[in-house]
């Protein structure tokens, strides 16, 4: 009952909904970059939506399943296959024992997610399975997966089947409403008003390119140089996922899942939570545009996404239960 990592991929980590309640110690929440993809993949295999999943970039891992399992892929589409059979994203899939899951190319998106029914056996760190690479804790030994690692699967009664056939179950999770493409909506930050009038205009009219030094901590952007009216001394305070900070060179960084808990740079804005999954699926070299919104709209969009997730969960339970009765 395990999965063997044949190739680790460029950075494959265990992630869940994140580590809650330790930011006062500088321990950041982390968690899946694209939380909606994690939740969707889990819902498809009837896991709790915050069950730990594998998160991977491309090149993605090659994994050998030593036992049959119900799985689901969501987020990026990296042209998955097992033993020559193509596997789509956002479907529940049964793969038989001995299957080798691999990913053959980038079709869409930047971050893929693999949920396995019942989850993987792991040790929690501070109430979460998310990998904290800085602290070298959580997830699988506090690090990205390596070749030869073996992930033990939790037993799940519905996963026990004798079929030797790979089968893609015929219903699909619709995830379009989780993803915004450009422009990304932001709420003005505390220091937005300190930008010059011209810089405020540039921020909402110009394109910003994601630079190569971007990672799970944050996306560094290349765009027009933004200027503050007055360069006052900032006292460090908390930042969050989605915060857009202005660096001393006039360029911006958007903080992502592994962001520091505090920062001392001016906060121009905050990308709204509802737009973060779409942002997580943008990669190096891609272009971002920003548009201003307000807190009320941001909260309403979050509520709509959560309601959609609930519907998705309910539908998956009905479908999978019907399938198992046959």
């Amino acid at each position: 009952m395990s999965i063997l990592v044949i190739k680790p991929g460029i950075q494959t980590t265990i992630q869940d909904a994140g580590r809650i309640g330790f930011q006062h110690l500088g321990i950041n929440p982390g968690g899946a970059m694209d939380l909606r993809a994690m939740q969707t993949a889990n819902a498809l295999v009837q896991n709790p939506t915050d069950e730990a999943v594998l998160e991977f970039y491309f090149p993605a891992p090659v994994l050998r399943f030593n036992a049959g399992a119900f799985i689901a892929l969501s987020g990026a589409d990296f042209k998955a296959s097992v033993n020559g059979t193509h596997l789509p994203v956002n479907h529940p899939i049964y793969i038989p024992a001995g299957s080798v899951l691999q990913f053959n190319g980038k079709n869409k998106g930047q971050l893929g997610y693999l949920a396995i029914q019942g989850g993987v056996e792991l040790i929690e760190w501070l109430n979460s399975y998310s990998t904290n690479l800085k602290a070298a804790a959580g997830g699988y030994e506090g690090r990205a997966l390596c070749a030869g690692d073996e992930l033990t699967l939790n037993t799940h009664p519905k996963s026990i089947r004798s079929s030797t056939e790979c089968s893609v179950l015929p219903w699909k999770a619709h995830t379009e409403s989780f993803y915004t493409n450009n422009p990304f909506r932001f709420i003005p930050g505390k220091e937005f008003g300190l930008l010059s009038e011209a810089s405020r205009q540039l921020f909402i009219t110009e394109a910003f390119i994601i630079l190569p030094q971007s990672d799970r901590m944050g996306y560094r952007l290349q765009g027009p140089e933004l200027q503050l009216v007055e360069a006052g001394e900032m006292i460090s305070s908390a930042v969050t996922r989605g915060t857009v900070q202005l660096l001393p060179n006039g360029q911006c960084i958007v903080l992502m899942a592994d962001h520091q808990t505090t920062g001392g740079y001016p906060r121009i804005g905050h990308i709204i939570t509802a737009d973060l999954p779409g942002l997580a699926q943008k990669g190096i070299g891609e272009t971002l545009h920003f548009v201003q919104t307000d807190l009320e709209a941001a909260e309403n969009l979050l509520v709509i996404q959560e309601q959609h997730l609930q519907q998705l969960k309910n539908a998956c339970i009905l479908q999978l239960d019907a399938y198992h009765r046959h």
């Binding site: 809650i20 309640g21 330790f22 930011q23 006062h24 110690l25 500088g26 321990i27 950041n28 929440p29 760190w125 501070l126 904290n132 800085k134 602290a135 070298a136 804790a137 506090g142 709420i187 930050g189 505390k190 006292i235 460090s236 305070s237 908390a238 930042v239 969050t240 996922r241 989605g242 915060t243 520091q260 808990t261 505090t262 920062g263 906060r267 905050h270 990308i271 709204i272 939570t273 807190l295 009320e296 941001a298 909260e299 979050l302 509520v303 959560e306």
Partner: protein
């Protein structure tokens, strides 16, 4: 909790910050810690994290859960009202701050910037060490890295700005100075502080239930140890 002025502003759509002052000063930070402990001892529902900083405290919350429980209200407005109410209450934020002694080896091998800092200050190295160990510091906040405590205030005679070019690798345990702040790197990390020594104590121990040696509001005192003591302490904990 008194009626000192404060402002509350949104930090994105699932957090808000209570700004209690605009300076790095003990009195303001003391109030931050009182609010922090009050909210820890008597939690508001739907709060997922509290992040005390120099002169502010940030409250992270589950906006959807608030909206579901209190339909018709914005999650921000609901949380702001709860907090405004709390800030007017007297009391349960009392806490006794711990005093923690931290041994530091100020050998030049472990404190590569010590000589430069002494030259910058125009003082003998021994005097820099004496001044660094003479102050009881306050942990104003933890940030940057897991368990990285921002401590102040460094004696004005030995303040030195951070390096123009950060080092690509600062060893775990390294003790640094940046202006009026002093701090210890809990893990190996790039860093720009002036490194004057190293402690053998683990600042972050992920095997412990309380993984960080220092917490916000602690008081810290350093004392100087020899290289031999440093090695002994370091070896005794790796056995």
């Amino acid at each position: 909790m008194g009626s000192a002025p404060y402002i509350i502003y949104p930090l994105g759509d699932q957090a808000l910050t209570i700004e209690l002052g605009k300076k790095i000063e003990e009195q303001t930070n003391q109030r931050v810690m009182e609010v922090f402990h009050q909210l820890q001892n008597n939690p508001i529902p739907f709060v997922s994290d509290l992040i005390p900083a120099y002169s502010s405290i940030t409250v992270v919350y589950h906006a959807f859960a608030i909206r579901k429980t209190h339909p018709g209200l914005s999650a921000f407005d609901w949380m702001k009202a709860e907090l405004t109410n709390r800030l007017q209450q007297k009391g349960d934020g009392a806490f006794s701050s711990r005093l923690i002694d931290i041994p530091v080896c100020y050998d030049s091998e472990l404190g590569p910037d010590l000589a430069e800092l002494a030259a910058f200050a125009g003082l003998p190295v021994a005097e820099v060490i004496r001044l660094h160990t003479a102050t009881v510091y306050r942990v104003y906040m933890i940030g940057f890295l897991p368990g990285f405590a921002y401590m102040a205030s460094v004696d004005p005679a030995i303040r030195m700005p951070r390096k123009a070019q950060p080092r690509p690798l600062v060893a775990a345990g390294s003790v640094g100075i940046a202006g009026e702040q002093t701090g210890i790197y809990p893990v190996n990390s790039p860093g720009g502080w002036q490194i004057i020594g190293q402690t053998p104590l683990p600042l972050l121990d992920v095997s412990q239930e309380s993984p960080c040696l220092l917490e916000p509001g602690d008081r810290v005192r350093f004392h100087s140890i020899s290289m031999q003591q440093f090695n002994q302490m370091k070896n005794s904990r790796s056995v």
